[in-house]
């Protein structure tokens, strides 16, 4: 039996997780980063690529978070953070922003999740024990972006229960859309055959990661240690 993670074996840092997803972004991709951890993806900068940041409130091509004192009171991203204008930025209204999303112009959306299933379903908007849900633009992005990437902790921090599941237990955000998941234990690809472990955190074995995972992991021959940089 593998060493239990609670023993203190190091997991990946949130910034490393988001860097790894950002390494997958291609030149000229339109990227939509969800509230919370995904916004860390914007800290990874590859000078050979132009990444176009889209935010659901209608801004295409915004820049980094505004330093204190440089905030423009009329310019915020999807998290309500003040960002800097960037040359070439364009503004549209909310209906046009979601026309942009539904029209398939977003190359990748990165979101957090409570659960991801091996069939590509994921859940991030509603906990049945609470009334209502917080959906924001996540369902539109999940249904319509070209790719959905997920960044989340591998297990529920409250009770250690797994979050990579055979089937989602919570109400889903969209069916079958997740392509890539990064957790603090590794990088996972959703394939037609199921969840493929592509990279594992340093110090962890695929078997140890399987132990923390409800879904059956496919371990390919070329599985490798987590890449922190290209």
């Amino acid at each position: 039996m593998p060493e239990h993670p609670k023993s203190g074996k190091p997991k990946l840092e949130r910034q490393a997780m988001c860097d790894r997803l950002a390494m997958e972004f291609q030149d000229e991709w339109v990227v939509n980063l969800g509230v919370g951890m995904p916004t860390l993806c914007s800290n990874y900068v590859d000078p050979n690529k132009t990444i176009i940041n889209h935010s659901e409130n209608g801004v295409i091509g915004y820049g980094p978070i505004a330093p204190v004192g440089q905030e423009d009171r009329h310019l915020v991203n999807a998290s309500g953070q003040h960002v800097l204008a960037q040359p070439g930025m364009a503004i549209v209204h909310h209906a046009d922003s979601f026309a942009f999303i539904r029209g398939g112009m977003v190359d990748v959306t990165v979101m957090g999740a409570y659960e991801v299933a091996e069939n590509g379903d994921f859940a991030n908007w509603r906990i049945p024990s609470r009334k209502g849900g917080g959906i924001g633009g996540a369902m539109d992005l999940a249904a319509c972006a070209k790719r959905v990437f997920i960044a989340m902790e591998h297990t529920n921090p409250r009770d250690g229960s797994p979050r990579l599941l055979k089937r989602c237990k919570l109400p889903i955000t969209a069916p079958g859309v997740v392509k890539l998941v990064v957790t603090d234990l590794g990088l996972f690809e959703v394939s037609p055959q199921g969840l493929v472990l592509r990279e594992y955190a340093p110090g962890w074995t695929p078997e140890e990661i399987q132990h923390e995972t409800e879904a059956r992991l496919i371990i390919p021959r070329d599985v490798r240690e987590f890449r922190f940089r290209d």
């Binding site: 935010s55 310019l75 909310h94 633009g137």
Partner: protein, 235 residues
């Protein structure tokens, strides 16, 4: 031509009766018509239906739709957030919703924007891929078009839209600055009566470039220039 420029927010909202539907734009605290909301709060209209991306924020220092909700003036909300993003963020709306003191319909943000746009654009209903396969699509009509599944959604109409603009002329032509735009233009186009608070002096027709107008003046009925703080609300 009828004068559209009102001197005070109180005058501009004075005749709003109980029971009407009002659209409230704003996203991330930007483009929120706070002065008009404060005036309606003073005016006292109740039994309102609100259409808004969220239902108020925690610890709001400046008035927003949550101010009207907390005061018990709102009967139903259409919004994209009906539970808090974190369990500790319990707004007045969340507390009242949990106690069944207010009704709410959770609408994906893009579907909400398109339903508002459809109301202004005279579209009877439309098919969208958003929410297919989820709880929010249950009971809705589905249709497969070119191999993709869509759900049928209907327009969201309103009696009033409260709008926050950057510039306006006396005809009601409006301009917004950066992400202040958000829901403002489509709400202005969807409501029967559109009331605007504007951050700059209302100028004469012709001073705004025809190519750079975001809402044609025909959609606008009332305009109030926001006075300097503390009389006007600027945060």
């Amino acid at each position: 031509m009828r004068n559209k420029v009102y001197q005070t927010f109180d005058e501009a909202v004075a005749d709003i009766p109980d029971g009407v539907t009002i659209m409230f734009p704003g996203f991330g605290g930007v483009g929120v018509p706070r002065n008009l909301i404060a005036a309606l709060h003073r005016q006292g209209a109740k039994g309102l239906t609100g259409i808004s991306n969220n239902a108020g924020v925690l610890d709001a220092k400046a008035p927003d739709v949550g101010t009207l909700i907390e005061a018990g003036r709102v009967k139903k909300m259409y919004c994209a957030f009906t539970s808090p993003t974190h369990p500790s963020r319990v707004t007045a709306f969340v507390r009242m919703f949990n106690n069944n003191e207010i009704e709410a319909e959770t609408v994906p943000q893009g579907t909400m924007a398109e339903r508002i746009r459809a109301a202004g654009a005279g579209i009877g209903a439309f098919y969208t891929p958003t929410s297919v396969g989820t709880e929010l699509a249950e009971g809705k009509e589905h249709r497969v078009i070119n191999g993709r599944t869509y759900v049928l959604e209907y327009p969201l109409h309103a009696d009033y839209a409260f709008i926050r603009a950057w510039k306006a002329d006396t005809y009601g032509n409006l301009q917004f600055r950066l992400t202040q735009r958000n829901f403002n233009p489509i709400m202005a186009m969807a409501a029967k009566t559109t009331i605007v608070e504007v951050e700059n002096d209302v100028v004469a027709p012709g001073e705004l470039e025809p190519d750079a107008i975001h809402v044609p003046g025909v959609y606008v009925q009332r305009i109030v220039r926001i006075p300097p703080a503390p009389e006007g609300i600027w945060e």
